[in-house]
């Protein structure tokens, strides 16, 4: 029930993001969602793509540091309080969110959120008990 996210370590040099996206383009890899963490010395580009294993291979071959992390993608009611409700389910069970980012599906106009937590199994259990829709890997790659 988790999906694979690629994290790419990017030094603060101009042109690096362009290089990465160019490689993905050349290999016909589609980006579903992305976020960037930026610090003074480096950035971390996190992406959800339609073919994470292939993306990892081609980026590694090009000399990038890439890792795969299992994250959870959930559907969120696209209205005020939709996300707040879900965050409360998690915080009530003491599950801290390391980071998260949102994206919208072009098919059904729904809102989705990627969350990264310490313990995926525990978070999935809490979300399922509260009937939060969880995206499967297959679904997100097909979008």
């Amino acid at each position: 029930m988790t999906i694979k996210q690629l994290s790419i370590f990017v030094e603060n040099k101009s042109g690096r993001l362009s290089e990465i996206t160019e490689i993905l383009h050349k290999n016909n890899i589609d980006i579903r969602a992305l976020s960037i963490a930026d610090t003074t010395n480096f950035g971390i580009l996190r992406i959800i793509v339609d073919n994470p294993d292939k993306a990892q291979d081609v980026l590694k071959d090009a000399g990038f540091t890439v890792s795969l992390t299992n994250v959870i993608a959930i559907g969120v009611d696209d209205q005020p309080g939709g996300l707040s409700k879900i965050m409360k389910y998690l915080s009530d069970k003491d599950i801290g969110v390391e980071y998260m980012y949102a994206f919208v599906s072009k098919e059904d106009n729904s809102a989705y959120v990627i969350i990264r937590v310490e313990d995926n199994a525990k978070a999935l259990e809490v979300l399922q008990n509260n009937h939060v829709p969880i995206l499967t890997a297959a679904k997100i790659y097909e979008m």
Partner: protein, 435 residues
């Protein structure tokens, strides 16, 4: 398996070694005085004559020779024989100023090959081996030195030189390389690349490696031994004295036997020049006593080591020197604290990280600051900033407590720290730019 030696000199009784050294020293001093105007002038100024040097007990009377003397006499001023007897030239990379040029007669090359043959034999090598030489070939002495040594023991030489790591690994696997010679940092690169290529050490015939040309630590030895599943031997040398093979390690792996029938080692106090007793650490000094082309007297290596006559389990009687702790000119003084780059290497290996790092020293507001760049491992978790910072903090804490000074630590992508000829560029001292 009984210990193998290349020749009987390695196990000769001490009095025989000393007698031979005394004879060769007096001959060499005469040769240098008669044929090198630099030495004649020096001797004359000091009121010294070749007759004053009868045995190795007179060694301390001789003047020191410095790297600067080679530069001042660039390129051939210190050669003791005419050009028609010189059959080979090598030169050391001149990172600061002119290159230092060294020459060899045909006999010198035989001596050198013998020294490397001893090192290869001590590492278990013989005519049944495939010796893969991944030192750079060219003016640098590393490649040719081990190459000729391997031919001397009638092994099969694979002169791979440096670069194209994936192809090297293919060669090691397909050609059945059983002994490898390269810098320790390149051995790590080979091991890691092999792992990335999905090649297991069980597919290889490698059994041992001879590593030198840069200082390395015990931790690095363990890392190489486990990565490549081999026994890792140290070798020491410098082009001014001969090249690799001035000293070499045996199965005991507790220091390197000096080929003292060719090179007399001394340890001195680098400040005062006073000779120190065995066991004490100081600057290593060599007198070459069989070289025809470039017989340097009391050459200051700037390497910090100590000597020991303790009986070695391998049976060799040749004196042993410790792994150089660093070079007097590699030693950084940061906020008054002595720092050797090899200390950072130990810290990283102890933390289970690869020893790919670079020190950047700068002076900000009259205060020295040290920044350490460390290459990330592919298996490091880094998708959250917190995880990267946690790793940096862990390295910083270990460096701060080992060195006693505070460093800034930054992780960088793998393979982004500059490497040249298999030697990594360990230190960028920006303070020098301001002076």
């Amino acid at each position: 398996m009984p210990e193998k030696y290349w020749n009987s000199m390695e196990t000769a009784p001490l009095h025989e070694i000393r007698a031979l050294q005394s004879l060769r020293l007096s001959q060499t001093v005469r040769h240098a005085y008669n044929n090198i105007s630099f030495y004649k002038k020096k001797f004359d100024e000091m009121g010294l004559t070749p007759d004053d040097i009868q045995s190795i007990d007179d060694l301390h009377k001789l003047p020191f020779t410095y790297k600067q003397d080679l530069r001042d006499n660039y390129p051939y001023g210190l050669f003791a024989v005419p050009q028609d007897q010189i059959v080979r030239i090598h030169a050391s990379s001149g990172t600061t100023g002119k290159q230092t040029v060294v020459g060899y007669t045909a006999n010198d090359l035989v001596t050198w090959s013998d020294c490397c043959a001893r090192a290869l034999t001590a590492a278990g090598g013989d005519s049944s081996d495939y010796v893969h030489v991944s030192y750079g070939y060219g003016l640098f002495t590393g490649g040719m030195g081990l190459h000729y040594g391997a031919e001397r023991i009638k092994a099969t030489v694979i002169p791979a030189s440096v670069g194209n790591t994936q192809r090297q690994i293919q060669v090691i696997r397909d050609f059945g390389s059983s002994l490898i010679c390269c810098t320790p940092s390149y051995a790590i690169v080979l091991g890691e690349t092999m792992r990335d290529m999905g090649i297991s050490t069980s597919e290889l015939k490698l059994k041992a490696g001879i590593f030198g040309a840069e200082p390395w630590t015990e931790e690095m030895r363990h890392k190489i031994e486990s990565l490549l599943n081999i026994k890792a031997y140290d070798i020491y040398g410098l082009s001014e004295v001969m090249g690799p093979g001035v000293s070499f390690e045996c199965s005991e792996q507790t220091g390197m036997h000096v080929n003292e029938d060719h090179f007399i080692p001394e340890i001195i106090n680098p400040e005062t020049g006073e000779v120190l007793p065995d066991g004490e650490q100081g600057e290593l000094v060599f007198t070459a006593i069989t070289k025809e082309a470039l017989p340097l007297l009391r050459y200051r290596t700037r390497d910090i080591a100590s000597l020991s006559r303790k009986k070695c389990s391998c049976g060799r009687t040749l004196i042993k020197m410790t792994k150089p702790a660093g070079r007097t000119d590699d030693m950084l003084i940061i906020r008054g604290v002595n720092v050797f780059p090899s200390q950072i290497e130990s810290v990283l290996l102890n933390l289970g990280m690869a020893p790919h790092y670079q020190l950047i020293i700068d002076r900000v507001n009259n205060l020295d600051v040290m920044e350490v760049l460390v290459e990330m491992n592919q298996d490091m978790e880094f998708d959250a900033v917190r995880l990267v910072e946690k790793t940096e903090a862990r390295i910083k804490a270990a460096i701060d407590s080992t060195l006693g000074i505070s460093a800034k630590v930054h992780l960088v992508s793998p393979k982004t720290i500059e490497r040249s000829e298999g030697k990594s560029k360990r230190v960028v001292d920006k303070r020098k730019l301001h002076d």
